[in-house]
Amino acid sequence: MAVVFVRPKIPKLARDPWALQFDSEGRLKHLLTIEGLGPDWVTRILDTAESFLSVTGREVKKVPLLRGRTVVNLFFESSTRTRTTFELAAKRLSADVLNLNISTSAATKGESLLDTLRNIEAMQADMFVVRHAASGAAHFIARHVEPHVSVLNAGDGRHAHPTQALLDVFTIRKIKGDFTGLRVAIVGDVLHSRVARSQIHALNTLNTGEVRVIAPRTLLPAQVEKLGVRVFHDMREGLRDVDVIIMLRLQRERMEGALLPTEDEFFRLYGLTPEKLAWAKPDAIVMHPGPANRGVEIDSEVADGPQSVILQQVSNGIAVRMAVMSLCMGGREE
């Protein structure tokens, strides 16, 4: 990866860049970022996900909503959890799913992104689920696809990972209920985290009482407080009275230069251990978008402990992705 921006770089558009997510009748068409959705759409997605959760409990874990539609998982960057939960979500909606791992195929043979897109469109795809290492890739694709195709951002560079943020707020809502009285702390490598950015937007959209970030200066983007967060550099201070702790993965593969002394040092200062967890509220929940680096940002005892909801996040992720897929693809034909 050649160019790395500290702040999300969004392609310039003549009008509001988030407007691209909606069709001319104001229906959700693409999900590229949490920004621009507003509390009504976020709540609607969460409510829809709630009803899809019930499908998981039955004998046939499938509904025929997207029968005959084709969903293409377009992954330019490797991922296991996100790709499989998107795949499972699409299959539970009865869609056909095609998994394309582009990093190992056409891109390395020199085919351009647009050529790849045109070829897959020619296969009559209805939805692209896109993960790409470059910020803005999903926007770019959404601007260039055929009008009937929906695009879901499954992570673009450091910019956004909206479905992860939605499943996180869904999980918080299920356990804690209302957001207005909550203190949520996001801990660790905020600088490289698209997940953190989307979480901050989602939490603020839902009017969360206080959103905090806790990290060393070197792992925070410049002017991070402008996203609407309170900044802490010390865990003891930052975790005080917190209801929800979201640990971020230390993205060693994205790091350039000396942002960290050593992993041991990071774990000593910011790794979530049972001792540090005790500084938060006694009923605080611990979340992690995965995959967790045990012993780097989170202690195994915490990750597998009673306050951890990490596995609930994964199963909620399927219902949330079903909701987003069906809301983006429904009500399109006329």
Partner: protein
Amino acid sequence: MPNLDVEALLHRMEQDLSKRIESGALHDPLMVGIHTGGVWVAERLHAALGLTEPLGKLSIAFYRDDFTHIGLHPQVSPSSLPFDVEGRNVILVDDVLYTGRTIRAAMNELFDFGRPASVVLAVLCDRPGRELPIQADLAGETFMLDQHEQIVLHGPSPLTLTIEQRASEE
């Protein structure tokens, strides 16, 4: 003038159902209502017949055949069938039977929960105009309406029926 007295229609349905249950034609049935009006009707019948197993509720939002035209309903209340339908006799209850599309969707969903031994369709209001080969086994009343009219059940308490002018199609 058709009978719009919900209590009388419910009574007629209850009589019909209890006759079937007593004769053994409908052995040990389960009752399933279709959201929202069908659940109201089913709740009343369920109580009147003294069925012991809980009432099932089907929400057909994920099974509708017009999803590609109108999308998802904003507030989908999840289906709940708190029993095993496998091998059981099921009374499927709805408020109004018209085109038959809701019943088709409901039966598709019902079969995703298991394979019932039989399904009986009981509706409060039967209205000719079927688009599918689906008929009610018993109905509270049959209503002959003009195209621009519709019959609407209001509830849950009290239950009332009104015949209304349909909002013009966009």
